[in-house]
Assembly symmetry: none
Homo-oligomer: 249 residues x 2
């Protein structure tokens, strides 16, 4: 294995094992290079690797410091690339919500239009399970409810697309549950929206189902955006991402 990798692992273990506390300063690159008997280049590469993992932060002219580790959401493996990607780019959450707004709207529309009695039965089952579960404990009933509606759309392409986004969807549902549900008025609003979606589909009212489903996703998106701007969101901020969203060529 490459030396830079070994060094990054050694440093990470050192930090995680308590040898170095958060906010604590790491020896300078030149010192590390001398003590470990390697060139400064490999030290820098190792540090950049840790930087990518969010283990350390580096400030020009000052040095590198152990990053203060934030409380992370359970349930999902925080080390998975998807999670890291997601944490690095909270904007991805809103990107997904933008897409979900359209797709779930269409799904609800088609479900209300095409659902068979079996579909309706499944949706009812998922809905009652959603209502009876404490939303703080698990995001899965929420996701199952949405999924039941999608499957009732009888559009294999739609099912396939949303299925491909399942992992990402679970993340956002998780994020919304973790951030929105603790606030009672939010929880009530969302619950009421679920109820209205359910009713619209059961009543086989496609237009209403689409409208309500879309506004539901939009509501979640807006609420999350509001929370994010307050800086209290559970999702991590990008480390040093460019301030402007524009991708300058």
């Amino acid at each position: 294995m490459a030396i830079s990798q070994e060094i990054s692992y050694r440093l990470e273990r050192l930090i995680l094992d308590g040898g170095l506390a958060p906010e604590q300063k790491i020896p300078s690159e030149r010192q590390l290079a001398t003590r470990l008997g390697v060139s400064r280049a490999v030290i820098r590469e190792a540090l950049h690797e840790l930087q990518g993992r969010g283990v350390i932060e580096t400030r020009h002219g000052k040095g590198s410091f152990v990053a203060s580790m934030l409380p992370r959401t359970d349930d999902l493996d925080p080390q998975s690339p998807l999670m890291l990607l997601f944490e690095g780019h909270p904007r991805t959450l809103f990107d997904l919500l933008e897409v979900r707004e359209q797709l779930e709207g269409q799904a609800a529309y088609l479900a209300a239009k095409r659902a068979t009695t079996l579909d309706l039965h499944r949706i009812t089952k998922a809905y009652t399970a959603l209502e009876q579960t404490d939303p703080l404990t698990n995001a899965r009933p929420d996701h199952n409810f949405h999924q039941a509606i999608v499957e009732a759309s009888h559009n294999p392409v739609l099912v396939h697309v949303l299925n491909g986004l399942k992992n990402l969807m679970l993340l956002t549902v998780q994020a919304s549950v973790a951030n929105l549900n603790p606030r009672e008025e939010m929880r009530n609003k969302i619950s009421r929206q679920h109820k209205r979606i359910y009713q619209a589909v059961m009543a086989k009212n496609p237009e209403a189902a689409r409208r309500i489903a879309m506004s539901h996703v939009r509501f979640v998106s807006d609420a999350m955006r509001g929370i994010e701007q307050q800086g209290t969101a559970i999702i991590r901020e990008p480390f040093n991402g460019p301030a402007s969203v524009a991708t300058s060529p």
Copy 2:
């Protein structure tokens, strides 16, 4: 901000936006250094950062490759279940068009809202190419035009989803071209719709762009449905060649 950070961010963005697919090879360090006009050291540091985040994998002597991290909807394989499903059931075409109506509407909306001057330039290029090409010969220009708009949406999730449906999309575009364009009034209508979409995006009018784009897909869908009922529909084989994708950011 440090150059290595900017580069790592640009590369990550490029990957997220679908410019680089999983398992795809990244240009060599020396090439990147030359093309981006920086030293090889900063390239290596940027790559190590992405490596730490699990975005890429590097193999000694071979190169660096995009790690498969996003949920994959790789229907590029003509043998994928969805493709096979399509061949047996042309109804899938209308299923896809239902989904496309939503996604392309959203794409046009976001493109009109967020497109940079570079995006607008690309869209214009694709549009003029579309206008100057005999639509009977190739479905590519048509698809490229739609794709340019999607990429201008700056929503990686949207780009990813539609990219996963690329082959299927090409198939429908091909089908619509083959079936609709031979009829002059159809060809004119579609051409006019493309023009209006183009104008709405260029005028940065999101609402209009969405409305026109949606009605465009809807029009194609309805027209195809009408033709299908006459029993004269043509459905060709999917496109073979790999799409050329610019790797330069």
